[in-house]
Point group: D2
Chain length 124, copies 4
Amino acid sequence: MKVRDYECDVQGHVNNANYQHYFEVTRHEFLEHVGLNFYEMHKKGVDAVVSRVEIRYKVPLIGMDKFKCSIALEKRGVIYTFHQRIIRLSDNKLCAKAQVDVVNLIDGVLSQPVIFDEAFKAYL
Amino acid sequence: MKVRDYECDVQGHVNNANYQHYFEVTRHEFLEHVGLNFYEMHKKGVDAVVSRVEIRYKVPLIGMDKFKCSIALEKRGVIYTFHQRIIRLSDNKLCAKAQVDVVNLIDGVLSQPVIFDEAFKAYL
Amino acid sequence: MKVRDYECDVQGHVNNANYQHYFEVTRHEFLEHVGLNFYEMHKKGVDAVVSRVEIRYKVPLIGMDKFKCSIALEKRGVIYTFHQRIIRLSDNKLCAKAQVDVVNLIDGVLSQPVIFDEAFKAYL
Amino acid sequence: MKVRDYECDVQGHVNNANYQHYFEVTRHEFLEHVGLNFYEMHKKGVDAVVSRVEIRYKVPLIGMDKFKCSIALEKRGVIYTFHQRIIRLSDNKLCAKAQVDVVNLIDGVLSQPVIFDEAFKAYL
């Protein structure tokens, strides 16, 4: 991915909340990769909901920087934890890392993430 | 309203697209004021959809600036045109003005805006 | 480019203001392509400032849609007008088109866009 | 504050990253309240930088919801931790809570937050 200038604030850096967008985009790309579509699931009453996010900011990204965002998956009870990293491509520096806990709601009720267990099994 | 720092870009100014957000927020406040809720309408299949927007940028807003946003309504055929202005409170300067054309879709089909005619009649 | 889910609103469509972001990203990519960097220019006191934008919305983009965004350039006096289109890749539908007027400020003063004349000459 | 419709995603809920914006806006309001302006400080080379954020999401906010956002301050070494809560006004429900670690950079170098010590002393 590449930083968009409107994502930067007056300090010239990507605004902190936009990292959360990058992490989210990457998770949704991952969902699509394993055959799940966030919007289609929602229409069927199945929601992937973030219950907790922790982000550590290391090195700020600036306008037009290119970066990659990685995912490693861990399961703990009904929670899937996404361990994510944003790495700047120009020098391979770690810019931010996150732990994002995601739970599965079916018709609004916390549920066993059966649909995710099936889709994610190759990545655990 | 008041500018939020994250809405500013590296030039220190509010990013152009955020003016469109301010105009939209003001229209939705107006809808709520006349008894219509954007989200509730959508769930019933009634959507207010912007077909055209024209914005002229005059004086840039910067972080923490306070401003007001006005609306004047005009009806042309099936289109409601919202004439909107953003005025900075500190010196009453016109910062941006917009013409926003809104049409009414019912279940996705362009329709006579009967629900708006009723709700807006005191403001034409 | 590809729609990011967080760019969609409760109607399931990309929020209107985000189209302005797509158009802006494309212009900044174009600037970079011709050797100009928005942020670097700003630090030297040269700003490309949007004075007017007009967007016509045709067909809404939804989550994960892929699209391309085009630019055609026109010069009128001190104004460069970017004629831009967003085309959905799946069916080549025109989703939105824009006219964006950009002027050149040097140290905050409206100026002949000499730096742009030089950079854009192959595209007029 | 009040939720803006464009801050909601297709689930009808405020997008997770926007809570981070609400927390940030509240911190900047607090800075302004104690006589510090984020943008003015930046121009003098003094930056308040978030090094870590942890957010727990409890109850989702939806369009037009009104809410308040609180701050409690704690100092640990060179780090100021902002403990923040978002409470929905209609029923006093806790919607999200955050711990945000902020450090002080002077000309880009991690520094004793002397300027903050002075400004925040009444709130510790």
